[in-house]
Amino acid sequence: MFSDDTAISLEGISKRYYLRSQRPVDLKTTLLHLPSFLWRDSNRKAFWALDGVSFSVARGESIGIIGPNGSGKSTLLKIVADLARPTQGKIAVNGRISALLELGAGFHPQITGRQNAVLNAVLLGLSRREAEEALPDIIAFSELGDFIDEPMRTYSSGMYIRLGFSVAVHVHADVLLVDEVLAVGDAEFQQKCFDHIEKLRAKGVTIVLVSHDLGSVTRFCERAVLLHHGRVQVEGKSQPVVHEYLSRIAAVLGHAVSS
């Protein structure tokens, strides 16, 4: 069932979160209210962020994940990135993952861009030496120039994303996960990123892109998955899926206007 051509395979992935309002978060309260804690534990309110999501992504394919806020897109990426474990279901990822899930995640504001680039590359799985070797490419791609030796707290959000993206695409990953972050870069840099993603794809890198920028999804993803309430609504070629999403939005808006 899992061939070499498959980069990511998801089978019935579900993720349950408990709404925490009822749960004590400290030892003292837990011990003092042990009976009620145990009793409440079985009555916790569950929230299914993902509910039986299945699809697979071929090697070298780029797939867009779209859907309204709260539909489970980011949770899904977290599971693919192995940051969170699914409550149910099976996931298999072939190869090394590089995830760019949030603007500046893993950057330390007090150290320089150069130091952060190395630190981030190491966090993403490179050795110290590989990171040092990749550094010139990373810096060149980010176009940060002399600012690379300034502490990151002085950076603008555009500069953050430039460095973050540059690191993420230079760690020789087999699977690249990008969540929504490109919106911060200017048009030129976005174009450059997509060109680079295109190049990576040609080398067989698999791309998973979560975005509300439906234009980019149709342009750069062959396939798309529409999520809603943690379920896959539509899956297929990106154009029809985006179209379906837009018509659903239109239907909801039309309903709101008419009522």
Partner: protein, 205 residues
């Protein structure tokens, strides 16, 4: 109250015990919230989670090793000479304390993610442990309670550090066996607990 007798001056009772203890206490306190305080990193970047508490321990180990010259100065000022035993004893005892610490921080840093008040509880417990360990007094001051005191994982280790620095005595496994047992147990229990709990880190942070 019995008068504490010792063959060495008090500064040599205190300092060679105090610095290794500080390494333990500071590491344990700083490493406890190491994961809980880095929720953003845990939720967004995939890397081995134990790196965070371990880094704190390693950092404090360097601080501790840098205090050894100070101990040496005190020893020399007291008219004693360090000898070759230091070259063998320091790495051995450092390793033992390191293993004990790594096991300990695996346990507390993982639990702290779910019960954030562990930090404060531990602060109090470590203060208590400070007085219960033979730091400001030699173990011999405890008389017939020495055996009970050795249940404390730090007791035999602190004594070994003092014997090494102040008396140039090499530690033997028999001297530090309670600490060795504790180190092995904490590493095993710590790996198990950490491995179980780390699956849930991203969900509760």
């Amino acid at each position: 109250m019995a008068k504490v007798k010792s063959d060495i001056p008090y500064q040599l009772v205190l300092l060679p015990a105090l610095f290794p203890w500080s390494w333990f206490q500071t590491s344990a306190l700083m490493a406890t919230p190491a994961i809980a305080n880095n929720g953003n990193l845990i939720k967004k970047v995939h890397f081995p989670r134990y790196v965070l508490p371990f880094a704190t321990v390693a950092n404090n180990m360097v601080h501790f090793l840098l205090t050894i010259p100070i101990i040496m100065i005190i020893i020399l000022a007291s008219g004693r000479q360090p000898n070759y035993t230091w070259l063998i004893g320091i790495p051995l005892l450092t390793l033992l304390e390191l293993v004990l610490l790594l096991g300990t921080v695996l346990i507390v840093s993982a639990i702290d993610v779910f019960f954030r008040d562990l930090e404060h509880l531990l602060d109090v417990l470590l203060n208590l442990a400070f007085y219960m360990s033979p730091i400001i007094y030699p173990l011999s001051a405890l008389g017939r309670y020495q055996k009970v005191a050795l249940i404390n994982p730090m007791a035999s280790l602190i004594e070994a550090w003092r014997d090494l620095f102040a008396r140039n005595q090499l530690p033997t496994p028999i001297d530090v066996w309670p600490c060795i047992v504790w180190a092995v147990v904490t590493v095993l229990v710590g790996s198990f607990i950490f491995g179980r709990l780390e699956k849930g880190f991203a969900d509760v942070l």
